[in-house]
């Protein structure tokens, strides 16, 4: 299966080969030839100047759920009664999508002793809260959370379900999508409604962030997506806003096979990079482990956390928990300060979603400058202390 190439029209220009994100095209005897890696994304057809490429329609069985499913849902993740910030962001985005579709916004809340949280979900925009409050849900276990949530989905049939792309969400939600027999798009950075068929357009970085892909789930419901934290804008909060609370009872068959023995929070070697508003990252340009002293000073001054590139981690200047990038954590803070970071693709992928990026590097050609909002070419050991001094001065501490 693949795109159809008209050999008569093909001039062998190779533009389609360059356009293909999946390495599914190659030139053989000056003609484009498609291989098994083709996903019918159509990037080549858009590019072909000869209009020699057509994308065949894939026949899929119509699923009755596409006609009946209604409503936008948010999975209201909580741990120990605390919801991460991403829940408010999902409700903000969910509210916009629900209003556009003219449907209700629901929130699915699973856990134990949840009384304080339902009011908060209403205040943040939920019309309905489906709350499963049970001792058996006190700790997070994928299997029981999955079965309870999948059953709720089956009963109420939402058309869209959004969850945070957190550690918990990325473990649970793929299991739920499988149980619900529907499609799932991971780690979305953009969501919109396609006007004609009212499908959810789910946009995410692919191939390590080098390309963006927009994905749909045309034939099954709910259309499920995990959403990267700190990308969507949270909505307004109206204290005292009311909604419907639907309490969900568990059955005797609902038992977790796994058992959480201990929850260990905020360890020294665990850095909450994902939740941080400010991340100050050091790279090989620091010259050695002692270079991180300056990074730590900057992080302290900006009330942020310390990040590191793979190069600095591999050199054992700092622990892996600090690593930002493809093999570390993906971050999108308000402010990202890169000191002595050259900007390998794998690093850029993990931080280019940040609101404001400051880079200090002595190499004017460093790729980090392609993504930096404020790029300073210079010696970081001179520039960073100047930044710290100015901060102190402005805060009246000088």
């Amino acid at each position: 299966m693949g795109v159809i190439i008209d050999k008569e029209l093909c001039t062998g220009c190779g533009q389609c080969v360059d356009a293909c994100p999946f390495e599914a095209l190659e030139l053989i005897d000056d003609k484009a030839v498609v291989n098994d890696a083709c996903t019918l994304c159509g990037a080549c057809a858009d590019e072909c100047p000869e209009e020699a490429i057509t994308v065949p329609e894939v026949e899929r069985a119509e699923d009755e759920r596409t006609a009946t499913a209604k409503g936008v849902w948010v999975f209201a993740e909580q741990r120990g009664g605390v919801m991460p910030e991403v829940v408010a962001e999902l409700l903000g985005q969910g509210r916009r999508l629900a209003d556009e579709l003219g449907v209700e916004l629901g929130a699915a809340l699973l856990g134990h002793n949840l009384d304080g949280l339902t009011g908060e979900l209403f205040a943040l925009g939920a019309d309905v809260v489906y709350a499963a409050d049970d001792q058996r849900l006190a700790a997070f276990n994928d299997d029981i959370y999955c079965e309870v949530l999948a059953r709720l989905i089956g009963e109420h049939q939402p058309e869209i379900l959004l969850a945070g792309a957190t550690s918990l969400g990325r473990s649970l939600i793929p299991r739920v999508a499988t149980a619900a027999a529907t499609g799932l798009t991971a780690d979305c950075t953009g969501l919109a409604i396609e006007p004609e068929k009212k499908l959810l357009l789910q946009t995410r970085p692919a191939f390590g962030g080098n390309i963006m892909a927009t994905i749909i789930c045309p034939s099954a419901r709910p259309q499920m997506a995990t959403v990267r934290p700190r990308v969507m804008k949270r909505g307004g909060r109206s204290e005292g806003r009311q909604g419907r609370l639907i309490s969900v009872e568990l059955g005797p068959e609902d038992q977790a096979a796994t058992k959480v023995l201990e929850v260990v929070q905020a360890l020294d070697d665990q850095v909450n990079l994902v939740g941080a508003e400010v991340v100050v990252t050091g790279g090989r340009g620091l010259g050695g482990p002692e270079g991180f002293d300056l990074v730590r000073q900057m992080a302290t001054a900006l009330d942020g956390v310390v990040g590191a590139t793979r190069g600095a981690v591999d050199a054992e200047w700092i622990g892996h928990a600090h690593q930002v990038g493809q093999t570390g954590r993906t971050v999108a803070p308000k402010l990202y300060v890169a000191l002595g970071v050259s900007g390998a693709v794998q690093h850029l992928v993990g931080m280019q979603g940040s609101d404001a990026i400051v880079a200090v590097n002595n190499d004017p050609n460093a790729p980090i400058f392609d993504v930096a909002h404020y790029g300073i070419v210079g010696d970081l050991f001179e520039v960073a202390p100047a930044m710290l001094a100015r901060l102190k001065q402005l805060r009246g501490q000088a």
């Binding site: 994928d142 999955c146 299991r175 390590g208």
Partner: protein
């Protein structure tokens, strides 16, 4: 203990460079490798086998040339391999991928533990491990960073979370996905490499897995890519040049003006 390890062949993105003009990938000469996270899965399986004994089977879905990563797995010390390969598998999303992998694992006989890397570096979805677990009716723990206890009946593992970690008991049979902290992969052994040269990788297609063409590949996928485009770089970019004491102060002033930094009270 019988352990199945899922591995995927991916382009070596660590050696991919961006074209500075077009911001697209330069692909010339990009090699295929074992997904780096799957090397941690292999290492975890090898350590478990050392502790409690047993057998490791590496399994992969991919085109015929994905045989190469399975042979590499033999070099690292796994006992057997299975390649799931069929033209009908092409274009699979994670739903269709887990259909094939779950059937392949089910066909291995009684497996005590399935180990996957946390995600593949080409797709970055992290969906396949939990999806396989649900299809096989196994409990799972994702993002495992360490082992506390190992015996025939259960594992006690450390699960990485955003705010720390959990200690979780997983009854077997079960599935885990692992992160880098489980341990740096050992190099392949000479003996393993010798064996890999002669090893013939068994292959199964859709029919041998009991799957119809409608259940796998593009036709068996729920999700569909409709558009692919280059990421746009948002916001203004400015380059500050001059003496460090000036540029350092300028950038702080700009961040304060734009309310990125709040001076507060």
């Amino acid at each position: 203990m019988k352990i199945a390890v899922c591995i995927k062949q991916v382009p070596d993105t660590a050696n991919v460079k961006l074209d500075p003009e077009t911001h697209t990938l330069k692909r010339e000469g990009v090699e295929s490798i074992i997904n780096p996270f799957d090397l941690f899965a292999l290492e975890a399986a090898l350590r478990l086998r050392e502790q409690v004994g047993g057998e490791i089977v590496a399994i992969s879905m991919g085109p015929p040339q994905a045989e190469a990563v399975l042979k590499e797995a033999i070099g690292y010390g796994v006992d057997e391999c299975l390649l799931l390969s069929d033209r009908a598998f092409a274009g699979a999303d994670t739903w269709a991928t887990t259909a094939a992998l779950a059937s392949g694992i089910a066909g291995l006989g009684e497996v005590d533990l399935v180990v996957c890397g946390k995600q593949a570096v080409d797709g970055d979805t992290a969906q396949v491990g939990p999806g396989i677990a649900r299809r096989l009716g196994l409990p799972h723990v994702a993002f495992v960073k360490g082992f506390r206890e190992v015996d025939g009946g259960r594992l006690v593992v450390e699960r990485q979370m955003d705010d720390g970690f959990d200690v979780v008991a997983l009854p077997l049979p079960g599935l885990i996905t692992v992160v880098r902290e489980v341990g740096e992969p050992r190099p392949p052994s000479l003996k393993g490499k010798m064996r890999a040269k002669k090893y013939e990788v068994p292959t199964k297609g859709a029919a041998e897995l009991g799957l119809t063409p409608e259940q796998v590949g593009l036709a068996g996928s729920f999700t569909q890519v409709v558009k692919v485009f280059a990421p746009t770089v948002s916001g203004d970019r400015q380059r500050l040049e001059g003496p460090p004491e000036e540029t350092g102060a300028q950038v702080i002033d700009a961040l304060v003006d734009n309310q990125v930094i709040m001076l507060g009270g």
